[in-house]
Symmetry: C2
Subunit: 328 residues, 2 copies
């Protein structure tokens, strides 16, 4: 009986976000064989979150009746800045307390298989490029627009990750230097103006200032519970405050995308993440701004499209990353 080749084994992929941890077994054909999700509970700090990751891995292995020798590797996409060489999550606006956490070695210590650690949005870019909206597109930018804004860059068909693995932080591009403070500490980042958090904050602020909106009823008067999702629902129902808030975010998104278009002259920009679910409500005004602000040739060359893989982009991309590496 022939042994299965190492490279034909599946990857256990993890998407560590600020809100949820998604864990999946992914075949070398990019199929999701098993999947589970749990809350990150990021506010409880790194130790709790790490234990939740390890428990999620254990559950998935035991549910699928898989032992470690049947895995190619474990690959983690994490919502933070990654020191690729040392396998650290160096910092994260969405994972409080995470500073130089050696996540790769912690997971390696327990499971003794190959471990890969990349940035979550970089993983999503790889996922969409290999299996989603960006298939066959050699030069593309992906933005995950959710709680925060992450980015991934595909150049000449490969993930571009920079000299220390930190490239792609397009969400922390300053577009309004006198603008609101961002969770990263700077002012006027794309993230501070366009993320789901920014949209919710803006709606809450305006309602607290006395403006009327159907959002107040949607959240039964608990204004602080408004999220970008409710703003989207209210806008689709014709609420003018909600529509204005989304238009404002979409306009800023367009300014950021125009910058990316001028800098990269990419074939495609893919928008993923929670806010991408708004579809053309968000993307059409942004496309219009790109048309107005970017150089004509580059503006004409780019397609701005929603992601296709939904929440699975991160785990699929983390698996793609693992399969691409030279494994001993």
């Amino acid at each position: 009986m022939q042994e299965t080749k190492k490279s034909e084994l599946p990857v256990l992929a993890i998407d560590l976000g600020g809100t949820k941890i998604l864990t999946a077994i992914i075949s070398n054909k990019g199929q999701v064989k098993a999947k589970e999700r749990c809350l990150t509970l990021a506010d409880e700090g790194p130790e709790v979150v790490i234990n939740r990751i390890l428990s999620a891995i254990d559950r998935l292995l035991s549910q699928g009746n898989i032992n470690l020798s049947q895995l190619d590797s474990i690959s983690i996409g994490a919502a933070g800045a990654i020191d690729f060489d040392r396998g650290l999550v160096t910092s994260s606006p969405h994972l409080p307390g995470w500073h130089d956490i050696p996540l790769r070695d912690i997971v390696k210590e327990k499971y003794r298989v190959n471990i890969f650690l990349i940035n979550e949005a970089n993983a999503a870019a790889l996922g969409e490029h290999h299996l989603g909206a960006g298939q066959g597109v050699n030069n593309l930018i992906l933005l995950t627009v959710g709680t925060g804004i992450g980015g991934g860059i595909i150049i000449n068909g490969r993930l571009y990750s920079g000299v220390s693995g930190s490239a792609g932080e397009i969400g922390h591009m300053t577009i309004d230097v006198n603008g609101p403070r961002c969770d990263c500490g700077k002012t006027g980042c794309l993230e501070a103006l366009v993320s789901g958090t920014a949209v919710a904050k803006e709606a809450i602020k305006r309602i607290r200032q006395g403006e009327r909106s159907s959002l107040t009823e949607i959240v039964e008067g608990k204004i602080e519970n408004i999220t970008a999702e409710e703003v989207s629902i209210a806008a689709q129902g014709g609420d003018s405050l909600a529509s204005e808030v989304i238009l404002k975010a979409a306009t800023y998104l367009g300014v950021g995308l125009a910058n990316a278009v001028n800098i990269f002259n990419p074939e495609m920009i893919i928008i993923s993440g929670g806010m991408a679910k708004m579809g053309d409500l968000l993307l059409n005004p942004a496309r219009q701004v790109v048309k107005e602000r970017a150089f004509q040739l580059s503006a004409q060359a780019v397609r701005i499209v929603p992601a296709q893989l939904g929440d699975d982009a991160g785990v699929l991309g983390a698996a793609v990353f693992a399969f691409q590496q030279e494994v001993d």
Copy 2:
């Protein structure tokens, strides 16, 4: 007697800027064999400028006693947006009237040798990468900070020019969406805040508003004659208005560089162009802002350095580009 191989012949390289046209014969070892410069006279429109380019080529060939069969090619770096496939200068804030000008074919028609046309700042990036400050550096960004701001991107040791040859317009990255209008038509571009033109404008504005400065004497009362060069001289002489104007530009430059650092995580950023002659007066405050605004890992990884090739970067880079191409 053996014939000289085509690839060993020199390139006639041209740097078409908004102010001057530089023409040079460059050997395949990157040596400048002959060189001449003339004014662009951009305000007189494309026809005049094109005739000046053709005359400059003729003069250089005749002075060097070179005939066309002794050239590998003619390679032009132009200060504008380039449609690489069609060999057009599609537009340029610094060359009034240039819209879809088929510069490649115009030059080809007259000289019947291989003609290459790329963006001037892209050429400068290639030049500095192969022969200047960026030798041996695989991932770098170059910014030419002069009358305008151009950019060039080297990724994995190669010029990255995007899907239609227009990548690298870092000067037209919006960093202050409510900021001053740029020559490109948008607001708050890096160019509108940091270029030599912006620096001169700011100094002139403040003096016209009644502020005192040694600049007034330097230009003998002709305030409108102030250029960035005089502002630099005045600042070095201790003039406080001039120092403040440069510090403001350097701070904005730092915001733009921090964006580039977060996006590209490059090993090096090279600053070339007229403003680069200010040296640490401009670069030190910019470096400080990068340290404060960019992600730590990326900020630590990048060296921000002045260019080494001076005014020759464009012609040298245009020649490097020609030598890199597959020539029939």
